[in-house]
């Protein structure tokens, strides 16, 4: 199911066993008077260190797939392993961080307190929590705002806090569900750049849900194109733009070719 217009190697950038493995995965939701096939026969292997984007129109099951990986819901058919075990085991081992569509900050905690939240829940050594939270805030450039409360921050800053929060326990896997979807273009492009830097520096595996083609091409090592009704994987596009990427990557002729390729896959699924 791998499509590429370009002569590229299809092997993932890292070797070893996949960190996420999706086999014939299906998810059916009951709805009044019937059922919705949110995901059908999904197959995907994600290698450690990859940046994978799931892209598609609303209703294509991309968020469902991410929530399945995170064990926030359970599949109705197929197999799924995360970090070598079941999604339940991965969640209970706290082996991933999740960034939601909305920042979902605790409004009664200041910025530092919000980043510290997972450490409080996981009961890490008390004296190191604040230092760890500050380190994460430096990583997202918000160290000057540690005592601010969420309502005092812009939407982009709130989402950066939620990214710092997801990184705080040091998970190897990062699930991001349209984290920048509610932000304006300029903020989004800045955050994209910073996310790429974080990914490069931390070596984490990122699974990123988006409905923006250019965001997916810019960020990803592979883009999983999904289509709706029923939600399924239409194709997977390798993005062989050189790393490290910067603003100039957006001008690369291959950038446009990849974008076109994804658009055609999306359109094909629509017909």
């Amino acid at each position: 199911m791998t499509h590429s217009l370009l002569p590229t190697s299809h092997s993932p950038p890292h070797s070893g066993p996949p960190i996420v493995s999706v086999r014939d995965l299906g998810m059916i939701f009951p709805v009044p008077g019937g059922q919705t096939v949110a995901l059908q026969d999904a197959n995907l292997e994600i290698m450690p260190g990859e940046f994978i984007s799931l892209i598609g129109p609303s209703g294509c099951g991309k968020t469902t797939l991410l929530r399945l990986m995170a064990d926030l819901i359970s599949p109705t058919s197929g197999q799924l392993t995360v970090n070598g075990g079941t999604p339940r085991q991965a969640r209970e081992a706290r082996s991933y961080g999740y960034v939601f569509q909305a920042p979902a900050l605790m409004e009664w905690r200041n910025v530092l307190g919000n980043v510290r939240l997972p450490l409080d829940v996981m009961n890490t050594p008390k004296d190191s929590r604040a230092a760890r939270a500050r380190e994460m805030l430096r990583l997202v450039g918000l160290e000057k705002f540690e005592r601010s409360y969420p309502w005092q921050l812009s939407g982009g800053m709130q989402q950066r806090v939620s990214i710092a929060r997801a990184l705080a326990p040091g998970p190897a896997l990062l699930f991001m569900d349209e984290p920048f979807g509610a932000l304006d273009e300029i903020t989004r492009e800045n955050l994209n750049l910073e996310l790429l830097r974080l990914w490069r520096e931390t070596g984490k595996t990122v699974v990123f849900v988006t409905h923006s083609i250019s965001e997916a091409v810019f960020l990803s090592s592979r883009v999983v194109v999904m289509t709706a009704r029923p939600g399924k994987i239409e194709g997977i596009v390798n993005i062989d733009l050189p790393q490290p990427r910067g603003e100039e990557s957006r001008e690369d002729p291959r950038f446009f070719q990849y974008a076109t390729e994804i658009r055609e896959l999306l359109r094909r699924g629509h017909e």
Binding site: A70, L72, R91, E92, R94, Y96, G97, Y98, F100, Q101, A102, A104, M106, E107, W108, R109, N110, L117, P118, D120, V121, M122, E135, R138, L139, V140, G141, L142, E143, K144, F145, E146, R147, S148, Y149, W151, Q152, L153, S154, G155, G156, M157, R160, L183, D184, I186, T187, N190, L191, L193, E194, R197, E201, T202
Partner: protein, 319 residues
């Protein structure tokens, strides 16, 4: 992990939300404290308005009683009903001078057993104790309601029914029952206040405990948070604003409850006991003075809860 390049995060980059403006100048400290405009001036404006209409309303209200007294041949030392309206012994509405005299005589020795301030403190104490009990009971009930749908289905109708029992019916019964157990005075009134206040607190807290949005719950799930952790770190703090809103509603109702309880049971102190005594003596001026004390007590209670709210929910922007 490196901190390199963190400067590239553009602070509030054109997000288009008003509060972003000036974010960069906001010190990294506690939330901005806007000095809250005082309530005093608007309150005074209402007082001035009330004073202006007080005189004609008072004359109108007392005229009938004055005419009746004149017709019966009483010697009031005045000729016309209008002139006598400010001289009645038991006026419908006291003239300012009469009110002032009554106020002075009931407040002169504030801590004597017959003085209004002392009795107001007793009633206030009963109400506060009742509110405290209501918070404990309300939080416990709300937690159970939120935890279990079947508990909610089984108890909610009874909780509603409990609020339809009139205090005047309940108070003497409770006083008798507690009296048999040797409990008298302060506690029965506080229990009545709690009985009235626990309901809004329960409903408010249940709403508050349910208020965290689904994403926040999912977030706690990704951390494998335990039930008690989710309760303490998410639900309880999220419910605090609801608690204070319902407490403000409950406070005035609980105050009325304490006063009614004092009236309808054997009482040795409290505003209700003063109301009962003075109504038997037909001392309308004293009744008006006690009413004003009751109103002031209600304002003080709600203000106290407001102060507590500001102190506990410090994270919230000043409204």
């Amino acid at each position: 992990m490196s901190e390199g390049g963190s400067g590239k995060w553009v602070v509030g980059s054109g997000n288009g939300q008003g509060r972003v403006q000036g974010m960069t100048t906001l010190p990294a400290s506690t939330p901005r404290r806007v000095r809250r405009p005082s309530n005093l001036l608007p309150m005074l404006a209402v007082a001035v308005f009330a004073a202006l209409i007080y005189w004609p309303v008072m004359l109108f209200a007392n005229q009938g009683a004055a005419q009746k007294a004149l017709d019966s041949g009483a010697d009031l030392g005045c000729k016309t009903a209008l002139a006598c309206a400010t001289q009645l012994r038991n006026p419908v509405i006291p003239a300012p001078g009469q009110f002032w005299v009554g106020m002075r005589s009931l407040s002169a020795q504030p801590f004597s057993a017959t003085a209004a301030p002392y009795n107001a403190l007793v009633t206030g104490g009963e109400t506060l104790l009742g509110l405290g009990l209501a918070v404990v009971v309300g939080l416990a009930l709300a937690t159970l309601l939120v935890r279990s749908r079947s508990f909610e289905r089984a108890t909610l109708p009874w909780l509603v029914a409990s609020q339809t029992v009139p205090v005047v019916a309940l108070a003497p019964m409770l006083a008798v029952l507690l009296g048999q157990a040797g409990v008298q005075g302060f506690l029965p009134k506080a229990l009545i206040a709690a009985y009235i206040a626990f309901f809004p607190v329960t409903i408010g807290m249940a709403q508050g405990l349910r208020s965290p949005d689904p994403l926040q719950r999912d977030l706690m799930q990704t951390y494998r948070a335990s039930g008690p952790q989710t309760f303490l770190l998410l639900q309880l703090p999220a419910s605090l604003p609801y608690l204070f809103t319902s407490l403000k509603v409950a406070a005035t109702a609980a105050l009325v409850g304490s006063i009614v309880a004092e009236i309808s049971t054997i009482s040795f102190s409290g505003l209700g006991k003063m109301l009962a005594e003075n109504s038997r003596a037909s001392d309308t001026v004293a009744l008006w003075v006690i009413m004003v004390y009751g109103a002031a007590l209600g304002i003080a209670l709600v203000a106290l809860i407001g102060l507590l709210e500001r102190a506990v929910t410090r994270w919230r922007p000043v409204a």
